[in-house]
């Protein structure tokens, strides 16, 4: 019996193409007659669109087609929007693929042109004349909420897109029993995922077959197809969406891009394939923004450090329109406020309000990092106030036993949070670090230790089909097909997308173990809606918890079919058959065997020799439905302890070390898991210290390139020490929890706590991000001024 591949850090099977430059990303695709699209975008944050004149486009020798917002109105419906759990409550602003009467953020597309090459497309786009009547922009979400604020959408009563009010447990009792109530405002700033590959799509329409084919850098080909069918009123079975190699997604590429809708219309009008690849400037202006929230929190406390509950009034700055998924990070931020602590109650009141900024959508963490920032900063601040060690306060309040029913209505399935915290503290030798900190303070140096922990959610049970425009309690699921060819090789068809997430390797490991076939005879095929079963895509860390169990089920099913034919050929009993290293044999008698290739040949080409009741062919399709309802299916967790030094002259933060203890249950490939943890934490570091999307008062985005929007470089990111714990997920076959959110959930809290810990003696209170050098220096100056 071969050693199981599950649990082994085998090298990735997909890497040869990437290291040799043979990957196929959307911009690598060229089709005969292909045109290039360029979007005309609003230079105003808020304006009426008085007229759009594209007539000069066709006068240019390379200008082939133009489409304006007004052209698009009869051809495409509004962009979709979902509301998690708060069904009817979400408003429907008039969000179109191209603005037709009003623009609501700088960079909003107003028209699109097609030309014969990418340089000409930009020349031609400049020929489109748009007349605007500028309006005053609203850049402050609280101003936008205020009564009497200018309405951004005429069809709505005000600028609130969605209100969510939820509570759980007994907040009234929490307040009654409190010795005092901690009150604080926290703010996380606007930033974005910025994958190195920006958005892009090639659309082509075949007027003979009436089929629309898209090659699109997306995480959700099937869902995109369903939405396009709705928006364009186009039969879904004649749309094909292919996700090629995707250069990073991080949740941002869950967007249904309005540009893609417009591109489809352009391709249908031009009757030629059209390619759109956004520039980085466009990406920063008009791809999804994220994370911009204000929380006013009230935490009823006992004097001994017991946290009784968490209540928050939240404001989410949604931008000019409601992205389809905006309710997710809004709700997520609130649901994560109680953190990993035993509290009596929680209550959240959320206003998702619109302003004249780029829309806010999904980005790794999906709101949980905001909840974690709020509660973990609060714990540190309250501990300081009470004169308690922040670690001791955490230990006092931590959930001690799992499974644990939370006041948010979930059940944390498994995990030992106390042990995880102990492990992390031991990794950094916490008591020694405190002594070091004291020593360095005497030298005028500012060392900080940040501790943050959270229980992450993996596998969100949210809409799995685009049709769920009202939230219905749903369960996530995955369907996988395994198809054996006549030589005994297997293709595993999965409808999601690998965007750096290693599926080609981990799915093959699971498939090999389930079938008994050598991994070299297994190929994973993803991303093409014509080939793969319907799938809600790569999101919410669902691959391990939902897709891999489906792979295992399909593998088991295929194995049974192979064994059935093999049993006939070997004249044995089906129940006694086994497959080991690609050979079918009687269990316990490996010498009497047949190669799977022989079995396959018979099943496909010598069918007459099989008994009537054994079907021809070797293919299996199985579904796995999440075994748990509620917001998330399973609950990984981690503890982050960064150690930093803050230079109070420059405001620079330097990492001395960064320890991570994480637990995502059983791991198929520990190397790949660690890659996700490190990568996610690095994004969190960038988000906490460097990256910021800045608008001026006129609504102009000031950070429109990587010169201003500071994605961290190799010198900004420290070396991470990662310890893997594995507490299996009790309800997931295989025990996997998933780790796709990576370290993103914890980093903001951990690094903010570390920086705050470092400069606490200087009277600085940290309640917002980013902690970039200018902002830290401003805080330090202000504290000095007060003191």
């Amino acid at each position: 019996m071969a050693d199981p591949l599950i649990g082994q850090s085998i090298k990735r099977r997909e890497d040869l193409k990437y290291v040799t430059g043979c990957g196929t990303y959307v911009d690598d695709l060229t089709l005969p007659g292909m045109l290039f699209a360029s979007f005309v975008r609003s230079p105003h944050a808020h304006a009426k669109v008085l007229s759009v004149d594209g007539s000069r486009v066709l006068e240019h020798p390379k200008g082939i087609e133009v489409l304006t917002g007004r052209d698009a109105v009869p051809l495409a419906g509004p962009m979709p929007v979902y509301s998690y759990r708060e069904a009817a409550a979400i408003k429907k602003p008039d969000y179109r693929c191209l603005a037709h009467d009003r623009v609501r953020f700088v960079g909003e597309p107003v028209a699109v042109v097609a030309a014969t090459d990418r340089y000409a497309a930009e020349d031609v786009a400049e020929r489109v004349r748009v007349e605007y009547e500028p309006l005053d922009p609203i850049m402050d979400p609280e101003q936008s909420l205020a009564p009497g604020a200018q309405k951004l959408h005429d069809n709505l009563d005000n600028n609130v897109g969605l209100r969510i009010e939820r509570e759980g447990g007994d907040m009234a009792a929490a307040f009654r029993e409190a010795d005092f109530v901690f009150k604080k405002r926290f703010r996380m700033h606007r930033h974005a995922g910025s994958p190195i590959e920006p958005r892009g799509c090639v659309a082509q329409y075949n007027s003979g077959t009436k089929e629309l084919t898209l090659t699109c850098s997306t995480q959700i080909p099937h869902i995109l197809k369903t939405h396009l069918s709705e928006i364009l009123d186009f039969p879904e079975f004649r749309i094909r969406v292919i996700a090629p190699d995707v250069g990073g997604g991080f949740g941002n590429k869950l967007q249904i891009p309005p540009e893609v809708v417009a591109l489809c219309l352009l391709a249908m009008k031009a009757r030629r394939p059209v390619k759109w690849i956004e520039t980085r400037r466009e990406s920063l202006m008009a791809f999804l923004h994220a994370r911009d929230q204000i929380h006013d929190v009230e935490i009823p406390m006992k004097n001994d450090g017991t946290i009784l509950g968490v209540k928050a009034q939240m404001t989410v700055d949604a931008g000019g329109y409601l992205d389809a998924r905006i309710s997710g990070p809004s709700l997520g931020a609130g649901m994560w406020l109680p953190g990993p602590y035993q509290v009596k109650g929680y209550a959240i009141d959320i206003n998702v309000v619109m302003t004249n900024k780029c829309p806010y959508g999904a980005y790794r963490g999906f709101g949980s990092q905001m909840g974690a920032l709020v509660i973990e900063r609060s714990v540190d601040l309250i501990a300081r106030q009470l004169g308690i060690d922040p670690v001791a306060m955490r230990q006092k309040n931590l959930i001690k036993e799992t499974p644990y029913k939370t006041v948010t209505g979930h059940e944390f399935d498994s995990g030992d949070y106390m042990a995880g915290l102990d492990k992390a503290l031991a990794m950094v030798d916490y008591p020694e670090l405190r002594k070091e900190q004291a020593r360095l303070r005497e030298e005028g140096r500012y060392l900080g230790i940040g501790v943050a922990m959270a229980v992450e959610g993996a596998g969100w049970n949210t809409y799995t089909a685009a049709m769920a425009q009202h939230y219905v309690p749903t369960l996530d699921y995955a369907t996988v097909t395994m198809r054996m060819d006549t030589s005994g090789n297997v293709k595993v068809l999965i409808g999601d997308v690998a965007c750096g997430t290693g599926h080609a390797t981990t799915a093959a490991q699971v498939a090999a173990d389930a079938t008994g076939l050598p991994i070299d005879t297994i190929e994973i095929v993803e991303g093409d809606t014509a080939i793969t079963p319907y799938d809600s895509g790569t999101r919410a860390a669902r691959f391990s918890a939902v897709v891999l169990p489906a792979v295992a089920l399909a593998g088991q099913s295929l194995k049974e079919k192979v064994c059935r034919v093999g049993a006939h050929l070997l004249e044995g009993a089906e129940a006694d058959m086994e497959i080991t290293a690609g050979k079918v044999h009687v269990r316990g008698t490996p010498s009497r065997n047949l190669p799977v290739s022989r079995v396959a040949r018979v099943a496909y080409s010598e069918v007459a020799t099989l008994p009537r009741d054994i079907p021809a062919g070797l293919e299996a399709t199985e579904s796995f439905k999440a075994p748990v309802s509620g917001l998330c299916i399973t609950w990984p967790y981690a503890i982050h302890i960064p150690v930093v030094e803050v230079d109070i002259e420059t405001g620079m933060v330097r990492f001395l070390r960064y320890a991570i203890v994480h637990d995502c249950g059983n791991e198929v490939n520990p190397m790949i898991v660690e890659g996700q943890v490190v990568g996610g934490t690095a994004q969190g570091v960038g988000g906490t210290l460097l990256e910021e999307l800045v608008y001026d008062d006129d609504g102009q985005l000031l950070t429109t390139s990587f010169m201003d929007y500071l994605v961290p470089t190799a010198t900004d990111i420290p070396h991470f020490e990662v310890c893997h714990l594995q507490t299996p997920a009790p309800q997931i076959p295989g025990g996997y929890k998933g780790m796709g959110e990576g370290g993103c959930v914890y980093t903001y809290a951990a690094v903010a706590n570390a920086v705050a810990d470092a400069i606490e003696p200087l009277g600085v209170e940290i309640t917002s991000t980013p902690l970039s050098p200018p902002r830290l220096l401003a805080l330090l100056r202000e504290a000095k001024g007060r003191g």
Binding site: D15, Y18, V19, G247
Partner: protein, 162 residues
């Protein structure tokens, strides 16, 4: 006025007619020559996904005009492996999980090539500093550093067996 360019790419002679003066070198490589391994990730020379080797130096091909490549010797990622034998840097990225989505990888590898020529036995700090011009959003750089250090070791031992 459009130009004719004569250059050498991955050891092969290239003649391209009708090249607009404003065409970027990266687009000549990708769109005209079909060498799509070199990628574009930004507009301002920050991300390094377009890094190639130009007359022996690592340069960002998005920031050079195609017409400047007249008479030059260019190597892209596609020219690094010899037949089917991977360069140790390519092998190192594979061994050490130095990539996830692969988009920044060709540029990283081409930068690492120059890095290891200049610093055959680099420290982690030198590797990170020398790769500052190449952005990665997926890996957090940790395994990229491991990959480059591994490749350095391989190259060193290859040298000593020569």
């Amino acid at each position: 006025m459009n130009r004719i360019i004569h250059t050498t790419v991955n050891g092969r002679k290239v003649v391209e007619e009708n090249v607009e003066p404003r065409m970027l070198l990266v687009h000549l490589l990708r769109d005209r020559l079909g060498l799509t391994g070199t990628h574009v990730g930004c507009d301002t020379t920050n991300c390094g996904a377009c890094t190639i080797r130009f007359n022996g130096l690592a340069i960002k091909s998005c920031t050079m005009l195609a017409v400047r490549s007249e008479g030059a010797e260019i190597m892209t990622i596609e020219g690094l492996a010899e037949d089917d034998k991977l360069h140790p840097i390519q092998q190192g990225f594979w061994e050490k999980h130095g990539l996830q989505c692969g988009y920044c990888t060709p540029g990283m590898i081409m930068s690492a090539l120059q890095l290891l020529e200049r610093y055959p036995e680099p420290s982690e700090a030198i590797v990170r500093r020398e790769l500052e011009g190449n952005l990665c959003r997926c890996t957090g750089y940790q395994n990229i550093v491991e990959a480059v250090l591994w490749a350095g070791e391989q190259l060193k031992s290859q040298e000593s067996t020569v």
